[in-house]
């Protein structure tokens, strides 16, 4: 399969990680080895096997829709890297062309 540094760069973009050139060079062969090894799951012929996403056979869990105390706005914002006017302050979210 041979995963290239270019492939890894595009996956990293999807995952929002700005990898350096040096990291791409190290990661690509490592990831290739790992992916080749995990690809063994396809050896198990399993057309009729249902997938398991979860260990417990749980259906939806419901509760009464009642008012409960929650964290204050100050508590919620206490760990924020930047806050203004009791809100999260974020970098610009629209492009220049917008």
């Amino acid at each position: 399969m041979a995963l290239t540094a270019v492939d890894v760069a595009s996956l990293a973009r999807l995952a929002r990680i700005e990898l350096s050139e040096a990291e791409l060079e190290v990661l690509a062969p490592q990831l290739d080895v790992i992916l080749e090894s995990v690809a063994r799951v396809s050896e198990v012929a399993a057309q009729d096997i249902p997938p398991t996403s979860h260990a417990l056979p749980l259906t939806n869990v419901f509760r009464e829709d009642e008012l409960r105390p929650s964290l204050s706005r100050e508590q919620v914002l206490s760990g924020a890297p930047a806050a203004e006017q009791l809100r999260f302050r974020v970098p610009r979210i629209l492009g220049d062309e917008a």
């Binding site: 799951v41 417990l56 924020a80 890297p81 999260f88 970098p91 610009r92």
Partner: protein, 508 residues
């Protein structure tokens, strides 16, 4: 050694049960017990680095409250006043929760995890937070952004991971109890390589609320201790239904304490998993494991060889399912609502800030797994990787179901090898993943599983663990087997395995 040093050495070696008894009878105060453990941490943690954070003042204050309650004749929990080390992936207000990551360095959580709440409600004294591989991804603690923990048996070696800090703290007599979390073996593998007891409850047996998620369908908090009964008492405290975790099981906690006290395996059917042994397993690991199985037979257990043919696919399936879940769970570390933010210069977009933050904040292993997860979930690859891994998960659960139709528990070595040298495997991720070979099947199936010490490998003098696996909600069987082994081995050895722990560096 002065009289005072002698008393301190005795206090740190007490079991949690004995400590609690002495505290309750006011033979020893909780404050004194706590101070003695804080002194021990001050003495040895420079070398071991089990803790990322210790708050002595707060621990002493809560110990003082326990003493006051006891003096006033109030009801207290069965482990009241006993010090504990909490893995730094569970929230505890007033202390930073870092998950061993730079991205959360110094983050103060606004709420307590349910496990933390239960510890506090049961009058247990939290000493501090323990080191781990970043976001619990690893088998050695070498992936911690804050430096590795060292194995108390040999400080050149790893203490296991991800919960190496919790296991090392317990093994080094820095705390009699600790909390770990187990996603693919992060409680059991460190227990095995440090000569301690570690239990992964049935998935849903203990609450994940306030546990920073790695892989939500696999993560499970559980007890770490030096004795089986201590682990059972801690299990009893933290387990049970929690409405805040919708995957928590709404059924009574199995009688783990009663099972640990009974220590009776007569007539029990014990299955040895034939796939978990042989090539790749250290001779000393196999030797101690086989001796322990013979010991169980001599105690009246019936030993049966069992085949679980799909277990060989557990490791590859796990390293698809875990990255897939972790790549989604860790998406929340985007530099917007908590933790690190990098590159917010007023010009860069939110997306650029996210990418720069995650690049600076995550370590190499976290990046590897997020990228594998992103790949496995990509359209075009989904069916071949993630979809197929989920089918393997079904096949592994069926192997267990079939086995548990014939036997009460399954056993295997907890790890293929003993503790390796720090640095030995950091550049070979796949070799590192092999450490979890034996422990992963239980996480995929969601059943109960534990590691108990069964001796030192003759070739290197390092601890070996035996893994016991039991059906979902039969956690009590783990303790029955563990306690039987512990009693028989300690009578053969004339003491506990940790009595043979080498003296740790500093002397007060």
């Amino acid at each position: 050694m002065t009289l005072q040093q002698g008393a301190a050495a005795e206090i740190i070696r007490l079991t949690a049960v004995d400590l609690a008894t002495k505290i309750k009878s006011r033979e020893l105060s909780a404050v004194e017990a706590t101070r003695t453990h804080l002194d021990r941490i001050a003495d040895v943690d420079g070398e071991i680095h089990a803790f990322l954070y210790v708050d002595g003042e707060r621990a002493l204050a809560s110990a003082g409250r326990v003493d006051a309650k006891i003096a006033a004749g109030e009801m207290v929990g069965p482990l009241a006043g006993v010090p504990l080390a909490l893995k730094d992936i569970l929230t505890y207000t007033g202390a930073p929760t870092t998950c061993g990551s730079k991205i959360l360095e110094g983050w103060l959580p606004p709420y307590d995890a349910t496990v933390t709440r239960r510890l506090l409600d049961h009058d247990i004294v939290i000493l501090g937070k323990t080191n781990l591989d970043e976001f619990a991804m690893g088998s050695s603690t070498e992936n911690s952004a804050f430096g590795p923990t060292r194995n108390p048996w040999d400080s050149d070696r790893i203490p296991g991971g991800s919960g190496g800090g919790s296991a090392a703290a317990v093994a080094a007599f820095e705390a009699p109890l600790a909390i770990g979390t187990d996603t693919g073996g992060s409680i059991r593998q460190p227990a095995a390589v440090t000569g301690t007891v570690g239990v992964k409850p049935t998935y849903g047996g203990s609450s994940r609320y306030g546990l920073v998620a790695l892989a939500s369908s696999l993560d499970q908090p559980g007890p770490c201790a030096r004795t089986v009964l201590d682990a059972a008492l801690l299990h009893q405290v933290i387990a049970g239904h929690d409405p805040c975790d919708s995957t928590s099981i709404d059924q009574p906690v199995p009688d783990v304490v009663g099972a640990a006290r009974s220590a009776d395996v007569a007539g029990m059917k014990v299955g040895v998993v034939s796939e978990l042994g042989g090539e790749g397993y250290a001779p000393g690991v196999e030797q101690r494991f086989n001796e322990a199985v013979e010991l169980l037979a001599s105690l009246g257990a019936e030993i049966i060889e069992v085949s679980c043919p799909h277990f060989v696919y557990a490791l590859p399936a796990y390293y698809l399912i875990l990255p897939a879940e972790c790549s989604s769970n860790l998406a929340k570390f985007d530099g917007m609502r908590f933790g690190l933010r990098v590159g917010d210069d007023g010009v860069a977009s939110a997306e650029q800030v996210m990418a720069a933050t995650r690049e600076a904040g995550f370590g190499a292993e976290v990046k590897r797994r997020i990228i594998i997860g992103t790949y496995a979930l990509s359209s075009g690859y989904y069916d071949a990787y993630y979809g197929q891994a989920q089918k393997v998960r079904t096949l592994i659960s069926r192997d267990f179901d079939k086995a548990f139709a014939d036997v009460d528990v399954l056993v295997s070595p907890s790890t293929p090898i003993t503790a390796f040298k720090i640095g030995e495997k950091v550049d070979d991720p796949l070799a590192m993943y092999m450490n979890d070979l034996c422990t992963i099947p239980s996480n995929l199936a969601g059943n109960a599983s534990a590691s108990f010490p069964v001796g030192l490998a003759p070739e290197d003098g390092l601890p070996v663990g035996l893994q016991v696996m039991a059906p979902p909600l039969a956690d009590d069987r783990l303790y029955r087997v563990g306690a039987a082994l512990e009693a028989a081995l300690e009578s053969a050895w004339g003491g506990s395995l940790l009595d043979r722990l080498p003296d740790l560096g500093a002397v007060r």
